[in-house]
Amino acid sequence: MMREMTGAEMVMQALIDQGVEHMFGYPGGAVLPIYDAMFHQNQVRHVLVRHEQGAVHMAEGYARSSGKVGVVLVTSGPGATNAVTGLTDALLDSIPVVCITGQVPTHLIGSDAFQECDTVGITRPCTKHNYLVRDVNDLARVLHEAFYVAQNGRPGPVVVDIPKDVQFAKGIYVGPENIQHKTYQPRLKGDGDRIRAAVELLAKAKRPVFYTGGGVINSGPEASRLLREFARLSGYPVTSTLMGLGAFPASDKQWLGMLGMHGTYEANMAMHDCDVMVCVGARFDDRITGRLDAFSPGSKKIHIDIDPSSINKNVKVDIPIIGDVKHVLDDMLTVWRAMKAEPDRRALASWWGQIDRWRARKSLSFQNSDQIIKPQFAIQRLYEAVKDKDVYITTEVGQHQMWAAQHFPFEEPNRWMTSGGLGTMGYGLPAAIGAQVAHPNSLVIDIAGEASIQMCLQELSTALQFNLPVKIFVLNNEYMGMVRQWQDLLHGGRYSHSYSESLPDFVKLAEAYGGVGIRCSRPGDLDGAIQEMINVDRPVLFDCLVDKMENVLPMIPSGKPHNEMIMPDHPEGLDDAISEEGKMLV
């Protein structure tokens, strides 16, 4: 399809041709022509946000819960700079987002014009790729290319910066049919010899473990299915990073729980003591490995990743396989079946025996109370109330996020959205709104803390405007809890600026926005209050007053290996848990 139209019309046409149904944005001087073109169509629905950071997180929540590309439209200058946090978040968590930014007209670029900033310069390190379009005849191609780059290979955010004169100019529009990027052709199929070598190694393993990550989710539902099939066929245990939760069902007996800094004892011990580790779409992040030189010292490591730069970045692996998880797992299964692999049942039985002894430590246990709501208990009750529903969970960042990951089990991929890489407070509410836009009839809950929720709280107004009945479940402990916990660990319990002073009345705040506020402070009232929250078909801000001093345990203190975790039965006080060297780490 080739026809003449304005640059602004091309933007809308390209979105329609890319199958975009929803976009998240905020108007301003440099994008007015695009908003005008939007006015003349009704195929793409625009969700008006209250802050551009919220727009990008909504697009992320939309993308992660639906598997589609999230689309953002913001103006020049502050519109673009406000989007930077969201873009960086999407880059670190590999979320496909196309962000269109307005720019001052080309003849004013570089003159410090009103609302001008060097958008491509600022976003270069926080996008997978970005473009400044100076000629309207390049615009359609660039937009289609942006969608291609955002979702192919390791997904990520792409910015397209469009000067205002280019939006007004007329040019020739081309459809997406013949757009193939000339150089960016990520490899999907893994190398056959390495796949064979990996399967042979795996079949002979005595203490194997699958270490899976967000790459399994990003590869699509088929990847999760293949992972389950591989686990069933082999009988091997499975653990996952924070990003990969849901790819393997938490109810499965082969599930070890999450690994890493706040992972379970059994998952981390299995990682430490295994003889063959298969890393599937994860990246040996520092939250996962603990002390690098003591990370899984005795194992052979297989690493499946679509991004070659993930290989040998932090941990040297024995068999790297570059490719898409889905393709590689499929090929590995084919080889496994063809060679009629028979795992060493005796070795495996003794490995599972060991794992069961670790499990018996019950590393997620906590001292419950009938006087005060324990945050872990609140998550457990929330889970019990919604487990049979069609539910999507997002979180902010901090203690509540870890408790959600530990105590809210997931059975399916794409149900769990959290800011893993960047750790962005303020992520959860907009992400929940994005997920709710993608799934209007599902129950979407943002598990939050009273500090994080205040970072993008203005988006409650967006939820009200678009009838998006998201539920915000605030674990209110009146502290930036993770900061307080680390001040206990590192700084002698001197709580420098981590107390949530001058908190608003969250119930009145919800009502001021036009939503519903619920407060609960007693364990006995919790189930009823949660039911009330679920039954309301409007946005709810649930202020759950929890134990102020609870810490997230178990924990691998920074600078320690996997087999030196602090357990819930650790004697009072955390101040001796971290070495001087460990204190330097984050």
Partner: protein
């Protein structure tokens, strides 16, 4: 605790074929500074006007694991077509050009001219009290030339950085 890395640093010369589009150099340089890699030398120029390709030669130093990271990080940049490690693919030809200004009178001028001659440097500008020499060669040769001119009234040096190409009949 820094990552476990007991490997000795190595010097590698990388050749990149990139789209000659605005910002491509900033992308490359930003990657090096953002991730804390070293750039010892960097040269860029368009090599094919028709296909709008540029060739970038980067000389970098790092432990083998870091060099591998640098290559795969560069390779995943969208406008980067190819990354070739000329240090791995075999002895490459590496050349650099330098312009060197020397100021002096009398015997010192004679001495500078003699040294320039023995290094096969060309004199590209002459005044009664100065010379500008042009020299091409391996970076070490230029280092040596410059250090010999140092006591003879060296004023300033302008170097291009290394351009490199693999030996034999094949392209990168």
């Amino acid at each position: 605790m820094p990552p476990v890395n007991h490997e000795a640093p190595e010097r590698h010369t990388l050749s990149l074929l990139v789209d000659n589009e605005p910002g491509v150099l900033a992308r490359i340089v930003g990657l090096f500074s953002g991730r804390g890699y070293n750039i010892d030398s960097l040269t860029v120029s368009e090599v094919s006007h028709d296909s709008r390709r540029s060739r970038i030669t980067v000389v970098t130093t790092g432990a083998p694991m870091i060099i591998e990271q640098i290559k795969s990080q560069l390779d995943r940049l969208v406008p980067v077509h190819r990354v070739v490690d000329l240090t791995v693919t075999g002895k490459a030809v590496e050349r650099e050009l330098a312009l060197i200004k020397v100021r002096g009178k009398g015997e010192i001028r004679q001495e500078a001219l003699l040294i320039a001659d023995s290094f096969r440097a060309r004199t590209v500008d002459t005044t009664l009290e100065s010379f500008v020499f042009e020299i091409t060669g391996k970076p070490e040769k230029i280092d040596q030339f410059v250090s010999l001119l140092e006591p003879l009234g060296l004023v300033e040096v302008s170097r291009t950085g290394v351009a490199a190409i693999g030996r034999g009949p094949d392209a990168m």
